[in-house]
Amino acid sequence: MSSPVPVLGRDARLIKSSVAIGYGKSIKVSADAEEIKVYSMDSLQPAITAAGKQSFKWSCDRLFTDKTYLALLMAGTKFDLVFAPEGDAEGDTIETWKNCSILHCERSAGEDDGVLESISGSAETVEFPAQS
């Protein structure tokens, strides 16, 4: 399996059915793919190498949301992560990591309701901005 390549850390907006449901601080995303190698009978070198099944992972330091959404997120509700890898929220370089789910999170005892810490999860697919 190939090693993940981390992308710039930024702040992300969480969108569920066109509604903003939260805000993530210091998001990091990575994509990796399984390696496919096909060998012929008469050679030790692979005849074909290719990237196989893909997975998209994301993580953020802290996530701010409402109490209502917090329960939904913890229950496995999927959402989209929208962020600007180049730091420009107004421009065209906005990336969307679609159908994200939370696979790991932590909460400090002293935190108010609606704050999650060290959250990570996976996305089903990534929508990159159209190249102009």
């Binding site: 702040d11 907006r13 969108i15 059915s17 066109s18 509604v19 903003a20 939260g22 805000y23 601080k25 802290r62 701010f64 949301t65 989209d80 929208v82 906005i94 969307t96 679609k98 609606g114 704050v115 929508e127 901005p129």
Partner: protein
């Protein structure tokens, strides 16, 4: 295009969503400010000033205790003591000596006399109290991994 069919990137720019995000951002900023306020900063100047001060603390049994913090130079004196009991006594003596200059003088060679003459009841309370102070050197960590034994070499 209805709001339901909007892409998430476009939905994020809707005024109601921007207002909501601004609200979340405000909470994030408040959280950052709170974290920064409680974050400890290493300040050697303040440390030097603190090390020279005489601290006072009210003890339920012993009353008002005055003591000074141990400094790097004290560790050299403590290390000259022959055994653990002497080192413990020397640490306490040095902390007290900084605040009570009229205490008799003891050296690593004579610290056992301090050990022999200090009343045990007060000494045990004092050790317990000073052990909890940040400037006390001999506090053992309550947890820790056990020593790893080196494998025996075959001859």
């Amino acid at each position: 295009m209805s709001e339901k069919n909007l892409s998430s990137a476009a939905a994020a720019k809707l005024p109601e969503n921007e207002a909501k995000i601004a609200e979340f951002k405000k909470r994030a900023e408040a959280d950052d400010a709170r974290n920064q306020a409680v974050a400890k900063l290493f300040d050697p100047v303040a440390l030097l000033q603190r090390a020279g001060q005489i601290h006072e603390a009210q003890h339920p049994t012993l009353g008002l205790i005055r003591y000074g913090e141990l400094v790097i130079a004290d560790s050299e004196i403590i290390n000259k003591c022959k055994n653990k009991a002497d080192r413990n006594a020397m640490s306490i003596y040095l902390m007290l000596k900084k605040a009570y200059s009229n205490l008799p003088d003891y050296t690593p060679e004579t610290i056992s006399e301090f050990n022999c003459s200090f009343p045990m009841l007060e000494a045990s309370e004092l050790i317990k109290f000073l052990n909890e102070q940040p400037g006390f050197l001999l506090t053992k960590s309550p947890t820790g991994s056990s020593t790893t034994q080196t494998p025996k070499t075959s001859v």
